[in-house]
Amino acid sequence: MLAAAAVEMHELVSRILARHKKDPSSLIPVLQDLQDELRYLPKDCLTMVAHGLGISPATVYGVATFYAQFSLEPKGKYVIRICDGTACHVRGSSPLYQAICKRVQLEDGRATSANGLFTVETVACLGACVLAPVAMINDKVYGQMTPEAINIILDELEKEEEASDHICKTAS
């Protein structure tokens, strides 16, 4: 089972590497593609990428940890981004952030909930300052958020998840 997963990952990395020039300047685009597919960058992948591009694993690791977009830990199915740009900040993004962390039960310092469903991040300006404070869940933007409104949205997402879980279980 483990070996199969390793083979699969190797294939994925090779497929992504094949799309790019074998050149150090391809490093960031390769990592971006990988992260798109896996929602995070497993450590083993980083070494494979280093071999593939002919650079040292330390360089790859250095780049992967420098940029905020990359995550070395798995992200949740729903990535909740609370805008903490200037406009949102002055209109109350901090209470919103605190409320969400509490709602999805984040444990000390972690960004992803224990059930792997939610990751909570802050971001500087989503470009919808008019609707401050703004939150984004995966690709959808929600404006004029309040702790109560976001709780309702999260309730709905959880309900959907439970329903689809249920369908999977009864189907199998």
């Binding site: 150090p24 977009q69 740009g85 406009a87 900040h89 209470p95 962390c101 500087a124 300006c125 109560e148």
Partner: protein
């Protein structure tokens, strides 16, 4: 495929005539603000309704069918029209009628009006202060003092249709440039005195001339679309709303400096901008406006798109170059300047999105035309993202030299809260907070520098009396501290020190000596940092210390936040007379600080209370009292 200036002009005419055959064009704004308030549903409903009535017509149909047809209506989605506050916006052309806050259910009535040639007054803009109703967009106070050069097409055309861009004179600046000697192109730009809109205000022609003078065939042009300033979305709006203006500007710049490869570096948080730019690059290639032998001039130029990966410092030009090369985005010392040795050590010009979007207009209409707008030292216009406590938030473009007061009160319609203005934050984390006494300063590159602020990229956040200036300073310092790349000790450690002091003050533990430490640290960081991030990092603190010192002192001496915003200095209590014991607040409190028995008044445990205020919003009986 277009191979000559002549063909461009023909296409412009052809497309214009086709559009003129439609009874009307209905332009639904699909900019970030309007999209978030539901413009997509409005557009879908509009198309459905047009189809149902048999009055839907596409531009393609009009182009293919020469016969006049004045019954059909063209519906399209545009980039940001600017007046985000009143979105979703719908504009009816050719009259220029602007409808605000349009909902899907308004569509049938709106269409009736369009087809009958009347106006639907209910959805027009009503000025809240005068009660006046405006039919035409251009008469509305928000738009009246604006001049659109960089944003001329943004919000007016379908950004995914290159023909719509050509129909507005697009690529004619390029045609004119390619007919000139490359040095003459630089001379034209020099005369226009176009200064960089990315923050520094460095004359574009000077950079171009240096790069053009370098030997060797390999040179690069980079468009900086990183826009990391929190509270700014102008470059995003241009890339999403008028991507071809950026491409045209890049090809002209490439021709002027002798580069054949360009890169657009777009911030990771802007997926739609990436998509739009990619699509526009493909279209320009298909139409022969990118690629080999552009407009039969022999000049070849390619554009590749690079996505940022979430690092503010990568907006700095040398860090951006490192990022494209596949390294950690760390700035390096200058000189050598990128225009001498930049990307892969080759001469490289980096210009901001808005700078490049201005270039085609300068070339098409000439330097003299451009200089008629703005001031003599800063000609042209500047775009701003107007946000915060202002009645009309949105995207604006104004002539350089307009005062901040005019922007806030004439265009912005004053404060949303109706209260008095406390400060205007300009230039984001590199800029400063200006008090109301300084509102008459003209907005141009040089005037602001004198008062410790800068135009920066153009984020303009209006703050009312309930914004705490110490907290604002802390907010920016936290941002910078997290984004410092860590290379320079002063920037890395100094910003952390400043942040800790600011946190102490906002929690009520500061001392008066801390204020001197802040000033001293700020000056040291300015001197000891390599790049603009560190050099400007102390600005928000230093400018608030200068203009709002009394607020710092109130936090320190009286342990009081005059704006009532600093949470640690607030106290929340429940008025037992009003509390009905409904337990709503108990469920809302993120800290589980509220306890009691249902039906009886609840009590807040002050040691657990985070002072977030969530309970205040949840209480239906206004039983929670806040003391600053």
């Amino acid at each position: 495929m277009i191979t000559s200036a002549r063909q461009l002009a023909d296409w412009e005419q052809k497309y214009k005539l086709a559009l003129a055959r439609a009874a009307a064009q209905i332009v639904v704004c699909a900019g970030p603000g309007c999209a978030a308030s539901g413009s997509k549903a409005v557009y879908e409903r509009l198309k459905e309704e047009l189809m149902r009535r048999g009055s839907h017509v596409t531009v393609d149909y009009l182009l293919e069918n020469g016969t006049p047809s004045t019954s059909g209506v063209v519906a399209l989605e545009s980039g940001c029209q600017g007046f985000c506050q009143k979105g979703p916006l719908v504009r009816v052309e050719p009259e220029g009628i602007l409808y605000t806050k349009v909902q899907p259910e308004d569509v049938p009535e709106l269409l009736d009006a369009v087809l009958q040639g009347t106006v639907l007054e209910r959805l027009l803009y009503h000025d809240p202060s005068t009660g006046q109703v405006y039919t035409n967009e251009k008469d509305i106070p928000f738009y009246r003092d604006q001049i659109r050069i960089a944003l001329q097409n943004c919000g007016a055309i379908d950004p995914e249709d290159i023909r719509a861009y050509i129909a507005r004179g697009g690529y004619q600046g390029l045609a004119r440039a390619l007919a000139m000697d490359s040095s003459a192109v630089i001379a034209e730009l020099e005369q226009a005195h176009l200064r960089g809109r990315g923050g520094g205000g460095f004359p574009a022609a000077r950079k171009w001339a240096i790069a053009a003078a370098q030997e060797g065939p390999e040179k690069y042009l980079i468009c900086n679309g990183d826009e990391g300033d929190p509270g700014a979305f102008m470059d995003r709006s241009i890339m999403e709303g008028d991507p071809h203006s950026v491409i045209e500007g890049m090809v002209i710049a490439g021709y002027a400096i002798g580069a054949s490869q360009g890169f657009i570096y777009v911030r990771a948080e802007y997926p739609l901008a990436v998509q739009r730019m990619q699509k526009a690059v493909r279209a320009a290639n298909e139409w022969g406006l990118l690629g080999e032998n552009i407009l039969d001039s022999g000049f070849a130029f390619q554009i590749a798109i690079k996505q940022g990966a979430g690092a503010f410092v990568c907006g700095e030009e040398t860090a951006l170059i490192a990022s494209i090369e596949g390294q950690r985005g760390m700035p390096r010392p200058k000189p050598p300047f990128p225009s001498v040795a930049g990307l892969w050590k080759k001469p490289t010009v980096i210009n901001n999105v808005e700078t490049l979007a201005n270039v085609p207009r300068v070339l098409r209409q000439g330097a003299q035309w451009f200089r008629k707008v703005g001031t003599s030292a800063s000609p042209g216009t500047k775009t701003f993202a107007l946000a915060g406590d202002v009645a009309n938030t949105g995207l604006i473009e104004v002539p350089m030299g307009l005062s901040i007061r005019d922007i806030v009160y004439k265009i912005g319609g004053g404060l949303r809260s109706g209260g008095e203005l406390k400060a205007v934050q300009i230039g984001g984390p590199s800029g400063g907070c200006l008090p109301s006494e300084l509102l008459d300063i003209p907005l141009d590159f040089d005037s602001l520098q004198g008062v410790g602020a800068m135009i920066g990229s153009g984020g303009l956040v209006v703050m009312g009396q309930n914004t705490c200036m110490v907290e604002v300073a802390r907010f920016f310092m936290q941002f910078i501290q997290a984004e410092s790349c860590g290379k320079c000790v002063f920037c890395r450690e100094g910003t952390l020190q400043m942040l800790e002091i600011l946190e102490k003050i906002t929690k009520g533990h500061g001392t008066l000596a801390d204020l001197d430490s802040l000033t001293e640290l700020g000056q040291a960081i300015k001197l000891g940092s390599l790049c603009g991030l560190g050099k400007s990092a102390p600005n928000p603190v230093l400018s608030t210390l200068e203009h709002f010192r009394s607020e710092y002192i109130a936090h320190i001496v009286e342990k009081r936040c005059p704006a009532g915003q600093c949470q640690a200095l607030r106290r929340y209590t429940i008025d037992p007379g009003r509390c009905r014991g409904c337990s709503r607040c108990v469920r809302t409190c993120p800290a589980e600080a509220i306890a009691g028995t249902a039906g009886r008044p609840y009590v807040i445990d002050q040691t657990k209370c985070l002072r977030c205020g969530a309970c205040v919003d949840s209480c239906k009986f206004q039983a929670i009292e806040v003391t600053a």
